[in-house]
Symmetry: C2
Subunit: 217 residues, 2 copies
């Protein structure tokens, strides 16, 4: 893996928080932002915030900070959210429903194009304005124009099967919320969301009170 | 913040994945585990896995690896999951329901003692065997024996108010799923879960194809 570029994971994880706050500030008419203000809001050292911004290629003006509109554009471009991302979601249970209703995704260019579930009682139902389709028809819907990403919210026991199916439909990137590491071809990009990871961090912070990494590492 | 100990965030975030897999291996009768096998499963460099394990204070035996039972105990102790953590959850919407139904939490010692919601139609309902209580009675329930952590799953607009209330009830650690950075007294530990953080990482991996950080950084 030495040949690969290493991503600055904590910095990238902070990007949506910066973006969301910056867009609120922009909406409130704040044309300039200082790193110290954002650092204060997020409970981080201003140096970390400045480094995160510089990662995206933008340079601030000393004493003035950043133009809000330019900073937003720079962060978006950096993450790849200047373009739309289409997604199909498989598994319309409580977690899937929560994702479909997560308003900020629109800000980040994420658009749900298909929602699938195995439970026939859910077929035809609307969840946050998305119709639930029969998972057995996935291939029929997706193959002609595969979405950019597939989001897996099914139980662990069926996650691998669903992932295989998505890959066969031509999906090249998977966001996996199931508690299993998927075994997929190397050209498929996988991001696994481990909800319990945050609980691990919280537990560590409680144990070693005073350890400080900000609110959302 | 220089006086604080810095936590190895990515390593800590991997702990639940190791633990879950190790417990499956233990249940399957595997008394020893090698770092390379776990590294392979998780799509990580074996060196990273070895360093993660050493963080917890355990030493493997060359050529043999680790005793599964000892490794599990070491990881658990390190994160603080050798003790029970009691939690109250506020906001029994789709995300809250997903958390209440997340089976692995029991493995990590997390136990939900109270569930609150503002919606009177939900009061008395059972969600994954937890009764939903009136959020206005939070103080009455929590003050006599505050839970170890408070989990916030309410909309962003009310998250700060709920957090203030939890702190007034004596809660000292908060796991925040709302898209807002809470402003709380310094002795309160806050962990914010940014679901979109994973989407940022996935987007970056898609942009810079070949960048490799494993499936769940």
């Amino acid at each position: 893996m030495g040949k690969h570029k290493v991503l600055n994971t904590p910095a990238i994880r902070r990007m949506p928080t910066y973006l969301h706050k910056l867009m609120l500030m922009q909406a409130a008419g704040e044309r300039f932002v200082s790193t110290s203000k954002l650092a204060d809001y997020m409970g981080l050292d201003p140096i970390i915030v400045r480094k995160d911004f510089e990662l995206t290629g933008i340079q601030g003006t000393p004493g003035v900070g950043f133009k809000t509109v330019e900073l937003i554009a720079s962060l978006r471009r950096f993450v790849g959210w200047d373009e739309r991302t289409t997604a199909c979601l498989v598994g319309a249970g409580s977690l899937g429903s929560a994702l479909l209703g997560y308003e900020e995704f629109a800000e980040y260019g994420l658009r749900f194009t298909y929602v699938f579930d195995a439970d026939s009682r859910k077929h035809g139902m609307l969840i946050h304005a998305h119709e639930v389709l029969d998972v057995r028809k996935m291939r029929e819907y997706l193959t002609p124009a595969p979405p950019d990403i597939g989001i897996i919210c099914v139980p662990s026991s069926t996650a691998q099967m669903v992932a295989d199916e998505l890959v066969q439909c031509g999906v090249k990137a998977i966001w996996n919320f199931a508690n299993v590491c998927l075994q997929l071809p190397h050209d498929v990009i996988v991001q696994r969301e481990v909800i319990a990871g945050g609980f691990a961090l919280l537990s560590m912070k409680r144990r070693s009170h005073g350890a400080e990494t900000g609110q959302d590492d």
